[in-house]
């Protein structure tokens, strides 16, 4: 109905956007802003800057939503290749902050690992789209190599959390491509066996400590367990209906660390209670399902695999963050997607949603031309 009122180019852009998904994202961003305003002690400054992040991210989302699967495919190898080069450069000439070397200075600080969050699933999806599915065993091995190269480079920084998340994004592609259930079962069994070995030999002391914190109840709450301890208090004290917006004592009295970033979910839980939590989780569930739905309507295999894996990656961020904040997963620096304060994560996620929407099968507007 807008078609007749709006210029054709706008109509074309709008048609390629998924308005249902955008509405849900808008709602989530609004909730995030409201929570951030409270978490930052009513600082409109911080909310304003977060708004800028969304503006940049939103613009990129709209642009990328216009990019068709066949166009994107042409960029994949370049993007992936550039990412690998940058990751290598990080290890050679990167900037070190707080004991980790994750940044490259190119006028501004960039984090090449962030590129890989999209480039890895894209590369794997591209690889499988060239093959017939379900994938053969050898294809899976090659896909895993494509995943492990950047993963190992990121692990070297060290940034275990990001490297695992990137690996998971790639593995989702393998899963969606149709890796046989037998193999999946076998791999899960192998992981279960390898995990304790990994814990003892493959982890840094601080990482082991974080895992232990989770398992053990009698950790020193003022040291290792402080984040989780305070976060659980905030959530638990929120109760069913919450303490009300702006009334969370835990966050406003500074007990809750990193309350605008990784632990913002605890602020939300304290102020809006279980009712708010269920609503928020439902909203997230809807967004993830909508992403999967769009993926299933994908233009081609590449589009489906990429959109599907990006949607599931979004889910993993959500799961890891909420699991961490509520004390069931170890502390990994993962923000609550689209709610936590921070430009990098928001821009990456918005780009991902742009890509997801872009993968949708185009309506045959120019049918007559064919």
């Amino acid at each position: 109905m807008f078609n007749s009122l709006l210029p054709p180019i706008v109509v074309q852009i709008l048609q390629r956007l998924d308005l249902v998904l955008i509405t849900a994202l808008g709602l989530l961003i609004f909730v995030g802003g409201v929570t951030l305003y409270s978490a930052s002690d009513m600082s409109s400054e911080m909310v304003y800057r977060q708004g800028l992040h969304f503006l940049i991210g939103g613009t990129l989302m709209v642009i990328l939503s216009q990019v068709q699967s066949k166009t994107l495919r042409q960029w994949v190898v370049w993007l992936y290749g550039t990412g690998i080069v940058l990751l290598v450069l990080v290890l050679i000439i990167g900037e070190t902050k707080k004991g980790a070397t994750r940044w490259l200075y190119v006028g501004v600080d960039i984090q090449p690992a962030e590129i890989m969050k999209i480039a890895v699933p894209m590369m794997v999806a591209y690889y499988f789209s060239e093959k017939s599915l379900p994938p053969r065993f050898i294809d899976i091995i090659i896909a895993l190599i494509l995943i492990f190269i950047p993963m190992l480079l990121i692990m070297k920084q060290p940034d275990l959390g990001t490297s695992l998340l990137i690996a998971v994004a790639g593995i989702f592609v393998i899963y969606l491509a149709g890796m046989s259930w037998w193999l999946i079962g076998g791999s899960l069994a192998a992981v279960a066996i390898a995990a304790p070995l990994m814990f003892h030999y493959g982890m840094h002391e601080y990482q082991r400590q974080r895992v232990l914190t989770l398992i053990s109840e009698d950790v020193d709450v003022l040291k290792e367990g402080y984040h989780i301890y305070q976060s659980k208090i905030a959530i638990g004290a929120g109760g069913i209906y919450g303490k009300g917006w702006g009334k969370g004592d835990q966050s406003h009295l500074d007990f809750l660390p990193e309350r605008h970033t990784d632990f913002i979910y605890a602020v939300f839980g304290e102020e809006f209670g279980l009712v708010g939590n269920l609503a928020l989780l439902s909203l997230y569930l809807f967004i993830i399902w909508r992403g999967l739905y769009i993926a299933s309507k994908g233009e081609d295999t590449f589009g489906r695999l990429l959109a599907g894996s990006l949607s599931l990656t979004f889910f993993i961020y959500l799961l890891v963050n909420t699991g961490m904040v509520s004390g069931v997963l170890p502390v990994v620096g993962v923000p609550l997607p689209l709610v936590s304060y921070g430009g990098t994560s928001i821009v990456t996620l918005m780009i991902a949603f742009g890509i997801i929407m872009g993968m949708k099968k185009r309506k045959r507007i120019y049918q007559g031309d064919e």
Binding site: I235, G236, G239, I240, Q250, G269, L281, L292, G308, S326
Partner: protein
Amino acid sequence: MGERLSIKTERDEQQLFNSRAIVAALIVLLALTGIAARMYFLQVKQHDHYTELSLQNYQRRIPKAPTRGQIYDRNGVLLADSKTKYVLQIIRDGVPDLNGDNLRRYDDIEVLLGQLNNIVTITDKEQRLFMQQLRKKSRYQPTVLKENLTDVEVAKFAVNKPRFPGVDIEVRMERNYPYGAVASHVIGYVGRIDERDMKNLNRDEYAASTHIGKTGVEASHEDRLHGQTGYLEVEVDAHGQHKGVIKEIPPVGGQDLFLSIDINLQLKAEELLKDERGAIIAIDPSSGEVLAMASVPTFDPNLFVNGISHKDYIDLRDNPDRPLYNRALQSAYPPGSTIKPMVALGGLQEGVIWPSKTTYDPGFFQIPGNKHRYRCWKKSGHGAVGIDRAIAQSCDTFFYDMAYRMGVEKYSAFMRSYGFGQLTGIDLPSESAGLMPTPEWKQKRYKQVWYPGDTVNIGIGQGYWLATPLQLAHAVSTTAMRGVRIKPRLLHAVRRVKNEPPEMIPPDYLPKITLKNSRYWDLAINGMINVVNSSYGTAKKVSEDISYTMAGKTGTAQVFGIAQNAKYDAKRLAKRLHDHALFVGFAPANNPKIAMSVIVENGGGGSSVAAPLARAIMDEYLVPKPKVDPNAPTDANVTPTQTGTTPTDPLVNNKKVSATPTGH
């Protein structure tokens, strides 16, 4: 063909993807349900637990110490008060940073002190001490710059306070005893709460208190004096910064106590005992209220309030005169002859003697079939004596005989009914129960049987019998009241709310002593009147120019055992081995207003040394003071300068020939 295959593959791949996506969607649902369940667990199941933790996080209770109750004498004279003290202190971290290096260097502080000096005078010594302390403390801890600010200085600083961030005035309460060493055993003192105190007290109630009663009334009435701790509930952030007050419950000050002590009488009693060791206790027989309780030497309780110096404490502790000891109720002495009126009452009650009974005193008593002679203090003997003369002249033989025939069981039981061998229950700590011996006690203590001679000895208040001066005063008060026993006490009245009239504390009656015939009381009391007032009484000298009827009984308690037939020679014995001088009495005899006991350790004879002190106290209490007239004759009252042994007194010399435990 290739085209068709591609379409088929496309369709298969679409289907494959769809099935995988659906499984993934279900896994997502499952996982988020798991998170929701976790939230339910935290926010519903464990909500109370986390609410509690949250409150612990941000609520801090700042306890506020109550003001300790004041202590007054019965007439409202202040004996102990809580003085407010203003202390100027500085927290280094709060001081303005002149260098901008965030360090608050010591020269920053010196600049500040220079500015402060214009408002509050700071001596060089104070400044030096302060700088020393400052270097030892953390930058967040307050350091005292000046103690005892005057009201003017406090006011001047208050006006200028905004100019001095980091500088603060702290209000401290301090206990002060304006009379110093007077009545220090009764009042006691407060001291800093130590670990031993911590074990017994309610930590919440004492959360803000620094001091607690350690001895005397300060300790025994701690509950009344302390008051209720108030608190300020404040909200703090994670850095401990106060964000606001949630709730304030002000402290409730302790009760003011009005002691039964009359401070003038107390002063008199302590003055009378000056340079001696001893105790004087005066009780109002009708109420049990202690009018004076002197234990000399005394000590200055002010020394203890903020921690006594090691030297001062050693001086007090190692002083052979034991000034910290409350002789009135912590020391037990052989009561000597002071108990003879009560022995007579016991004998009458048990039918061992009767009003007309006389005993012949040849100067000694012998247990039938035994050669040992229990000597009377009067070597030549009193001849035939009845109850009246036996008491008035303190005839030992009469009571030897009576006690022997009464037997230890009945004798002890009767004295127990008087309160001997038991705590009087006075409201002071550390009371001694004394000792009222029985055969069972001796068996247990010495693994020996009770000999009839033991009974003979306790018949004149010697042997194993030990009584505190307070027990003696209480006993004579009971006699004065003809058997009505009232628990002695120091608490006269309490005032719960400032500016309201005090509430009187009613007497606490103990089981009465009822005799077969109430005339027996007259016999004993008449004997006591004759001790003082008759021509033959042992203390007749104290009744000179007396304006009321005084009843009393002298006593001498032997410290040093002298062999049979040996002589007691005061000159040859060290002062510490001299006899204790004792006197008990009450007045007016027909309407008792004051009952008392006096003991002068190693003072010598009860009649010459102790009795005049009792007279002086009674005069002070009973005789209305004449208008001060510088020309008036000053010999109207017995002066306390007669203390010490008076070798010219024939009675004292007579007594000294006695070789057995004796008294008069």
